[in-house]
């Protein structure tokens, strides 16, 4: 006997079944398409943006992220449950498609049946297992959502409908299968290939065939009806993420990572800068809100949210979606509130973890730009002063620009004005130039280069702030003024290689300046020194010490440099105890996004929280690689009363003490 089964068993394959079934299905698909087309009008309110270039890359990215659930799986537990559920449900969907294909196409028109023989056996078994896994995962997720109730996870009507409907569809599917097996397969070798169905069949067997048949046909129609509802409500509920999140992978920002669009300051036509209303944002910014699944992973990682500030990246994105669909003329800064906008440190933890590829940070910068460029507003007077200081002296401290290179007196370093014949230009940055604590890092870097035989030049008083804090605060104009002056100097001196000790300078020169016409090698000192070490030019003596290491946002998440600093630490003899939040999950020091210029007046201090995390490792030294981080940790350690227990050091300080 050939293994197979009769499709449309018990419900019949005649017009009386097929016509209502197809009418219902087509109606559901019609509703789905129509509702998405309607919804696309909301997206079209946004500005144009090309997100369909490099299509082959985009498509492979989407397929990988959807089918492999790569981003979803970045969080274990619920991520794995979602992925397993997805795979289970996806296999059931494929199975249903195969049945449709055979019953109403290949068999109907060509008399070809492929669901037979050993293929059918595996088909039966795999679908059974897929269904079982989907049910178990769904129950697990239900328990998490409604019984465990993780902090911050919001339960809305959508969630109840989604979970309930999916569960009912899966359970009814098994009941239908069980009823069919109870009548047609029990006692045959076929039944064993549907283990879950067989288990249900045994339970139903005692009802007797007529009752089972009635149950079967009723459930069959109910199952169909629920599937039809499921399809039709996709655009109206969070189920839409099946399409919108998948599409968001296709429409993702292909980088470079953390790039902020450069505004055209010479645009005479522009009447407004930054985003005041939702229509000032791109269509993708609106679409992002529909791709959000409220998984709250961003909120869980947001340093502002974790310290009782009003910013939740998730809520911000959703608010933008609400504005776009309900009140498109609303003023964004008023709706979202300025405190929320100013709270962001642009640490990128939200974006890095987002399983839907939502771009949170640039939305915030876009809204800040409007506040700054159109209203002249900042989070506080201290920030306005820092901006004015930068305009006058090229540094936010307001210290004399002419003394910018004073720290280098007596060190083996020249200004390019004196001698442009150097191996690298060290772009010092404001903190290492003017801040006493950070000058030690500049000096250490020069000594390390000298020991490795690298000739270093600086711009001295011809260097200006790279403009990063200003830019992230929304002051694109001041940023571009600083940037163009710096770029002019680089070009004047024919610079080909720049090294920075500040990850913010590094990211800005390396990525942001490219839009303004700079294209040369920019390296952060950790990679630069790791390279010298590897080539044997730099020799470090290993002297054992215990420490923990803080991945700065702009070296880690923005540039994926995690290994170079650890290689250097290892060479220095470090026994490294990692904090719970390290690598891509590192917790910001609080100073990014221009917050270095601002007072932290709301909630608790981010730097103290991070200092506490470092202290919790038991290591006596917290190593970082960023002048902002070092400054914040010096404060955070005092604030958290960890003096004597924990000290903050830059990696360069550790290395210079161990020069061979």
């Amino acid at each position: 006997m050939e293994y197979t089964r009769e499709i449309y068993w018990n419900v019949g394959h005649g017009a009386i079944t097929l016509i209502p079934m197809y009418l219902l299905s087509l109606t559901a698909i019609g509703v789905l398409v129509y509702a998405f087309l309607q919804r696309s009008k909301i997206y079209k309110q946004g500005q144009t943006l090309n997100r369909t270039d490099q299509l082959p890359l985009r498509i492979t990215t989407m397929i990988k992220n959807v089918l492999l659930q790569s981003k979803v799986l970045n969080v274990r537990g619920p991520g794995a449950a979602h992925a397993l559920f997805f795979w289970g449900f996806f296999i059931l969907f494929l199975g249903t498609c195969l049945i449709f294909l055979q019953a109403d196409f290949t068999d109907l028109f060509f008399g070809i049946k492929f669901l037979k023989g050993s293929f059918y056996l595996f088909f039966s078994l795999i679908l059974d297992i897929a269904g079982l896994i989907a049910i178990i995962m769904l129950i697990g997720l239900l328990i998490r959502r409604y019984i465990v109730r993780p902090a911050g996870l919001e339960n809305k009507k959508d969630d109840f409908i989604m979970h309930g409907l999916l569960l009912l569809i899966l359970i009814s599917g098994f009941l239908i299968e069980g009823a069919r097996i109870a009548v047609t397969e029990i006692g045959t070798p076929l039944a064993a290939w549907s283990p879950v169905g067989l288990w249900v069949a045994k339970a139903l067997y005692g009802m007797g065939e007529p009752a089972v048949r009635v149950l079967h046909s009723n459930l069959w129609w109910l199952h169909l009806f629920m599937v039809v509802i499921f399809i039709a409500i996709i655009p109206f509920t969070k189920l839409r993420h099946i399409f919108t999140t998948s599409a968001n992978y296709l429409l993702t920002d292909l980088g470079p990572k953390g790039r902020v669009p450069t505004l055209d300051m010479e645009d005479e036509e522009a009447e407004s800068f930054g985003a005041a209303q939702i229509t000032d944002m791109s269509w993708k910014d609106i679409f992002d809100a529909d791709a959000c699944t409220s998984c709250k992973r961003c909120q869980d990682r947001c340093p502002a949210w974790a310290t009782d500030k009003p910013l939740s990246p998730m809520k911000l994105v959703q608010q933008l979606g609400d504005v776009a669909s309900q009140n498109p003329t609303a003023n964004l800064a008023e709706t979202i509130t300025k405190d929320v906008l100013w709270a962001c440190t642009t640490c990128r933890a939200c974006q890095e973890i987002c399983p839907a590829d939502i771009e949170h940070v640039n939305k915030i910068i876009d809204m800040r730009r409007n506040l700054v460029l159109m209203e002249g507003e900042f989070p506080g007077e201290e920030v306005t002063t820092a901006m004015e200081n930068t305009e006058v002296n090229g540094n936010p401290f307001g210290l004399a620009f002419a003394s910018r290179g004073d720290w280098a007196a007596g060190l083996p370093v020249v200004t390019l004005e004196e001698n442009r014949d150097v191996d690298v230009l060290y772009f010092v940055g404001c903190y290492a130039s003017f801040d006493k604590r950070n000058q030690t890092i500049a000096k250490a870097f020069i000594q390390l280069c000298d020991a490795a035989g690298v000739k270093v030049g600086i711009l001295g008083k011809e260097e200006k702030c790279c403009g990063e804090p200003m830019r992230k605060m929304g002051n694109e104009y001041l940023y571009q003024m600083q940037a163009s002056d710096n770029i002019e100097q680089f070009k004047n001196y024919g610079v080909t290689q720049i090294v920075t000790t500040c990850p913010h300078c590094f990211n800005t020169l390396n990525k942001d300046y490219r839009d303004l016409g700079l294209d040369l090698n920019v390296t952060h000192y950790t990679e630069f020194l790791a390279n010298l070490l590897q080539q044997g030019q730099l020799k470090i003596q290993s002297q054992p010490f215990d420490c923990t290491y803080h991945d700065s946002c702009y070296l880690g998440r923005y540039n994926d440099i995690y290994q170079a600093p650890r290689t250097l630490l290892q060479a220095a003899g470090a026994t490294l105890t990692e904090m719970a939040k390290s690598g891509a999950e590192s917790f910001c020091c609080s100073a990014g996004g221009g917050r270095i210029l601002a007072d932290e007046n709301i909630g608790t201090r981010i730097s103290e929280k991070r200092a506490q995390m470092a202290a919790d490792t038991g290591a006596p030294t917290l190593i970082s690689n960023c002048p902002f981080c070092l400054t914040m940790f010096e404060d955070g350690i005092k604030g958290a009363e960890l003096d004597g227990q924990l000290q903050s050091k830059d990696l360069a300080e550790i290395l210079v003490e161990r020069l061979a």
């Binding site: 300051m265 005479e268 009447e271 407004s272 800068f273 700054v372 460029l373 159109m374 209203e375 002249g376 507003e377 900042f378 007077e381 306005t384 901006m387 004015e388 006058v392 002296n393 307001g398 210290l399 004399a400 620009f401 002419a402 003394s403 008083k461 104009y477």
Partner: protein
């Protein structure tokens, strides 16, 4: 309503100052330039008044080399309508009387209802230019204002006196006011206004066209402050420190007498 605000470009006070070769002013190399702080309050108040009355034309005036035009652009970006630049590469050698005579010569036939200046400049600090201009034009002047209001041709203001005391004063226009710290918070220019400022009228007049009056004062010498005795740092535990301090106060001062 016709308004005039007089500003000066001064070196940023954090700059590295050096005495010039002639020994009568500071060297101009390595200095960062900005608007005199008190003049920023003057510009802000003038712009606020312009916004309050609606129909007003606000001129910003500055004396100096072409370099000062950058600072004038900031005033234009803050909301002034037009710029009057009195071109003079040697303005730093002119005393307050000569400077005031230039402003008065410019303003005398222009019927300004109100003239705003800073209380003093951060570099020379004479505090005389505003009052001299008012005197030359024969109009009243209100100085060191920390509060200002205007309605129907009358100014009501508060002046800062010594020891935290304030005086309420009032006069009718035309008048001149000089502005003190605390009067307002100068605005940060918006980008559209910065762009517009680049296209606003900015006319330079050679200084000699305004018939500068001879200076009454001459700077004889400029020198950094003499180094006096260094500070004394006391160390030890608080009880000892208190004893030491009392001892010093007794021996060297009359504070405890």
């Amino acid at each position: 309503m016709k308004l005039l605000v007089c500003i000066k470009q001064v070196p940023d006070m954090e700059s590295k100052f050096k005495v010039n070769a002639a020994g009568n002013w500071y060297e101009e190399t390595d200095l960062a330039w900005r608007m005199n702080e008190y003049d920023e309050y003057a510009v802000e108040q003038a712009v606020q008044l312009k916004q309050q009355v609606g129909e007003a034309d606000l001129t910003v005036l500055c004396i100096g080399s072409d370099r000062v035009k950058e600072t004038m652009k900031k005033a234009l970006a803050m909301g002034c309508d037009r710029g009057a630049h009195i071109a003079d590469d040697a303005s730093h050698l002119k005393d307050p009387y000569t400077i005031a005579s230039l402003i008065a010569a410019y303003a005398k036939d222009k019927d300004f209802d109100l003239i705003f200046t800073g209380m003093q400049s951060q570099d020379r600090g004479s505090g005389q230019v505003g009052v001299l201009v008012a005197e030359m034009l024969g109009i009243p002047s209100l100085t060191t204002l920390v509060e200002f209001s205007y309605a129907d041709g009358t100014i009501n203001a508060k002046r800062e006196l010594e020891g935290g005391i304030k005086a309420k004063v009032s006069c009718t226009t035309p008048a001149l006011v000089t502005c003190q710290l605390g009067l307002n918070t100068p605005r940060y220019p918006t980008l559209p206004n910065i762009m517009k400022a680049k296209k606003k009228e900015l006319i330079s007049t050679p200084v000699d066209d305004l018939n500068p009056q001879p200076s009454l004062l001459e700077v004889l010498q400029v020198a950094p402050p003499e180094k006096k005795g260094g500070g004394l740092i006391l160390e030890g535990d608080p009880a000892d420190l208190a004893d030491q301090l009392i001892q010093i106060l007794k021996e060297k001062t009359t504070a405890l007498a």
